[in-house]
């Protein structure tokens, strides 16, 4: 039985849970911060995007593993 497809789906599916929660928290906290201090919106947005890029990187690791399972 070939379980490659299942492995690929599990790798990216499970790997996306954590970063998804992380990006959600980042976004909600950033919105809260902008609501409290609208003048700092620009700086908060920059830092939020940077933080999101780091959280997203974890999902990307899972994606790389999934791609390796699929294509190699």
């Amino acid at each position: 039985m070939d379980l490659t497809a299942l492995g690929t789906a599990l790798a990216i599916g499970l790997g996306a849970i954590g970063p998804g929660i992380g990006i959600g928290i980042l976004g909600s906290k950033a919105m809260e911060a902008i609501g409290r201090n609208p003048e700092a919106a620009g700086e908060i947005r920059t830092n939020m995007i940077l933080g999101m890029a780091f959280a997203e990187a974890i999902a990307i690791y899972a994606l790389v593993v999934a791609l390796i399972i699929k294509f190699v």
């Binding site: 995007i49 940077l50 890029a53 780091f54 997203e56 990187a57 990307i60 690791y61 994606l63 790389v64 791609l67 390796i68 294509f71 190699v72």
Partner: protein
């Protein structure tokens, strides 16, 4: 607004686009093959015993473009800055744009690097521009679609029929070649025939965004982390390596000493983990982006992939910025040393 949209030039572009869509959907000859996703960069040239992959070729193109950009941006700069008149010092055109970019990068470097900025800035800015151009170059048309026709490299790849130099969307029939392969196997497989084991052709592209090659991103990560060690030694002398082999805890007792050594081992591991995370973050983001664009273009053709191009432009910029920022932060932390422990 609407009047601007319907200028004769724009109307002509729209007509051509609609015409191309209609023609391409009606003519079976213009049906394109499904994109081949190749995780590794493929070799396209051989010079002596040295194999040049498509990603390496494109990395060289990026370098040439950067050199030309640097030349064009500094071309009109006065040779002698001290004696130049104000009129000559005012930048214009391309030089103005590049000065704006460099100034923005310098301000970011300064906010992180502090007094070390003159040392950090050239490396950080080079990494940013190099990575940015490598990310964006892969979005150009022709990347991944123009190349050499080769037989599929392994059995799971689907080959397509080729008409002249153009690959059509017709999958190559495996049946007619079936007999040949079994014959070869029976006669002990001639090595010359080995390459034609699988029917049809695939395109091995001439160009491929360098960031979609793991070798490129890992090399950049290695350079970055090696320079972190260099700046650490430069700022703190060989005391910098105390971070990794910390035996000072033994003065306070055996337990503190063991904890210190353990922390040092963790530091050492995290240093290597940084190389990997540098490499995989950039590679994964850009490679996944190209796969996404390919999938979107074939899922719903023509217009749906346009917003994703915008997304990929954004991701390419963000990843270049992240690479630069992380490098700067690691540089800065290496030069500061572990001051907290010295205050105890």
């Amino acid at each position: 607004m609407l009047k601007k949209l319907f200028k004769p030039r724009n109307l002509a572009i729209m007509l051509v686009a609609v015409g191309m869509i209609v023609v391409s959907s009606m003519t079976p000859f213009l049906k394109v093959p499904k994109p081949v996703v190749s995780l590794a960069a493929e070799p396209v040239l051989h010079i002596g015993g040295f194999t040049i992959s498509n990603a390496l070729l494109t990395a060289w193109i990026v370098m040439v473009v950067l050199i030309i950009m640097a030349w064009a941006a500094t071309r009109r700069m006065p040779k002698d800055l001290e004696r130049a008149s104000n009129q000559e010092l005012v930048p214009s055109g391309f030089q103005n744009l590049m000065e704006m970019v460099i100034e923005a990068l310098y301000n970011i470097s300064k906010s992180i690097g502090g007094s070390w900025t003159p040392k950090f800035f050239p490396i950080a800015a080079t990494i940013f521009l190099f990575v940015l151009l490598s990310n964006w170059l892969g979005l150009l048309p022709g990347f991944g679609s123009i190349g050499i026709l080769e037989p599929p490299h392994y059995a799971s790849q689907q080959g397509y029929e080729a008409v002249g130099a153009i690959l059509t969307g017709t999958p190559a029939e495996a049946a007619e070649h079936e007999g040949a392969t079994t014959d070869d196997a029976a006669h002990g497989a001639a090595t010359g025939e080995e390459a034609h084991k699988f029917p049809g052709y695939i395109v091995v592209p001439f160009f491929r965004a360098p960031s979609t090659d793991l070798n490129f991103t890992l090399a950049l990560g290695l350079i970055s982390i090696a320079l972190v060690q260099y700046f650490g030694v430069k700022a703190l002398g060989f005391g910098y390596f105390k971070k990794f082999f910390d035996v000072s805890g033994f003065k306070k007792g055996a337990f503190d000493g063991v904890v210190g050594i353990f922390v040092g081992v963790l530091e050492l591991i995290s240093e290597f983990a940084r190389i990997l995370s540098f490499g995989f973050r950039l590679f994964g983001n850009i490679f996944a982006g190209e796969v996404l664009l390919g999938v979107m273009a074939f899922l719903i053709p023509y217009f749906v992939s346009l917003p994703f191009y915008g997304l990929e432009l954004f991701v390419g910029f963000i990843q270049a910025a992240v690479f630069m920022m992380l490098t700067l932060v690691f540089f800065a932390t290496a030069t500061v040393g572990h001051g907290s422990e010295e205050h105890h």
